[in-house]
């Protein structure tokens, strides 16, 4: 994936940010609102970059936001805030 759609990445980060505990892969996919193939590609891309991590829990694969992901989300929100305020 050369240049991912920022909108999808941001939605994944936001959803995971809001979740206090690891979330089921399928639940995350529904929350983000993309088809499974696209979602899988994005999740792989984000996991490769250390933004998300996959863990096995109760026999299910779940997704969790890493510290790097939390930092990326925080930076994204700060960036948006600065753009909206016309400071960037």
């Amino acid at each position: 994936m050369e240049r991912p759609d920022l909108y999808v990445v941001a939605r994944v980060l936001e959803r995971l940010w809001r979740e206090p505990s690891p979330i089921l892969r399928t639940r995350l996919q529904v929350a983000v609102g993309t088809n499974y193939d696209v979602f899988s590609r994005y999740l792989d891309w984000m996991t490769e970059r250390g933004l998300t991590a996959l863990i096995e829990e109760d026999g299910h694969q779940k997704v969790v936001l890493t510290d790097g992901g939390r930092e990326a989300y925080r930076r994204l929100v700060v960036w948006i805030n600065e753009v909206v305020h016309g400071r960037r």
């Binding site: 240049r3 991912p4 936001e14 250390g50 990326a72 929100v77 700060v78 805030n81």
Partner: protein
């Protein structure tokens, strides 16, 4: 300082008053002819001048107090906090009145996202007395401008006092999201106000031109041109009315699309602000909003009329003066044509300079946006932006 914002609309109020005044003067002259400046004639002129200022003051007063202005008060205002901060507060149903300056009250709407600039009751007394004193009618015009500007300054001071200031990085992410949504809402509302204002201003210019055309027609078919011109006057009036109505309809069709788009954005953001805990993605919406920001900033800056009201007024005055000098003194002295043409050329130069500057600013903001987007992708890379 919001004098610029007020003056951009006040200029059109002045134009309309002038157009109404121009239309009234020959009408009075036609209905009640008098020779030279007799006592009776002087009375008519005084009456006309007074009427002109009253119309101007009335229109400006309406422009001052009727519109709602978007503002970011963060939804955290309450009566006790305001009272503790030393403000005089009155609750009125879904809104609160906050005295933000000696003569000005801000009526802040529920949701704390918009306010109206109103005169305080002490100011109302002055506003009633001013036009009653002959010659001081124009004072009402200036006083309402003062109240308006004071209200804006007061609301801005109130906003920073209630919101607190600090670097964006230090605030919590959730607060930043709410702040971003509020700011985006202000931008969208501002863009909506500009689009609506632009539509109204163009409509007013169209109506003013129609009035001027009608006055010219009236002068050409008036009593000094002899009788039997009633039919010509009627046909001319019908043509002018038809052309004006057609122009207004065309204008409406052209502007409604822009107004509807900005209105949809403002409503979408407001809905997201009210539904922060819901299923909708705030960050998704904000990312949708980001590409709109340069356009909203451009809408804010757009238009010679709203960008620099002082310069606009100067350009119009140069055109009017140039035309008047040529028309009045040209037939008797050739130099008047030169002076008039010089003034018109100067006005044209200023207008072109403003247009070129606006185009350059737009190009720069587009390039800025591409750079910002590249920065954002960099941020998502591991260790990016640190």
């Amino acid at each position: 300082m919001r004098w610029r914002r007020a003056l951009s609309s006040w200029w059109f109020a002045g134009l309309i008053s002038l157009a109404v005044g121009i239309a009234l003067l020959p009408l009075l002259h036609w209905l009640m002819p008098f020779d030279g400046l007799s006592d009776e004639g002087a009375d008519y002129l005084l009456f006309f001048a007074h009427l002109f200022f009253l119309i101007a003051a009335g229109v400006c007063l309406l422009i001052t107090i009727v519109p709602w202005h978007a503002v970011d008060l963060g939804g955290r205002l309450d009566r006790s906090a305001l009272t503790k901060a030393g403000y005089e507060v009155v609750e009125r149903g879904g809104s609160i009145d906050v005295r933000v300056a000696r003569w000005s009250v801000a009526r802040i709407r529920e949701g704390r996202t918009a306010f109206r600039a109103l005169p305080h009751r002490t100011a109302l007394l002055v506003m009633v007395l001013l036009p009653a004193i002959p010659g001081l009618g124009v004072g009402l015009f200036l006083f309402s401008l003062y109240i308006y500007a004071q209200c804006w300054e007061g609301v801005e001071a109130l906003s920073s006092k209630m919101r607190g200031v600090g670097p964006a990085e230090d605030r919590r992410v959730e607060e930043l999201m709410v702040d971003s949504l509020s700011s985006a809402y202000i931008l969208a509302r501002d863009a909506l106000d500009v689009e609506k204002g632009s539509y109204q201003d163009r409509g007013l210019v169209l109506v003013s031109l129609a009035l001027v055309a009608w006055v010219v027609l009236l002068a050409l078919t008036g009593p000094t041109s002899g009788h039997g011109h009633a039919l010509l006057l009627g046909i001319g009036t019908l043509i002018i009315a038809g052309a004006t109505a057609g122009g207004v309809l065309l204008l409406r069709r052209r502007c409604q699309e822009d107004i509807a788009r900005e209105e949809a954005w403002a409503e979408r953001i407001l809905a997201a602000m009210r539904d922060r805990e819901g299923v909708s993605s705030s960050v998704g919406l904000l990312l949708d909003i980001c590409p709109e920001v340069p356009r909203w900033l451009e809408v804010r800056r757009r238009g010679v009329w709203n960008r620099a009201p002082g310069k606009t007024l100067l350009i119009v005055l140069l055109f009017i003066s140039g035309g008047q000098i040529m028309a009045l003194y040209g037939p008797g002295w050739w130099g008047a044509y030169l002076i008039g043409a010089g003034l018109i050329a100067l006005g044209t130069g200023l207008f072109l300079d403003e247009s070129v500057r606006a185009r350059k600013e737009h190009r720069r903001s587009t390039e800025d946006w591409d750079r910002k987007l590249a920065e954002l992708y960099l941020l998502l890379e591991p260790g990016g932006g640190r």
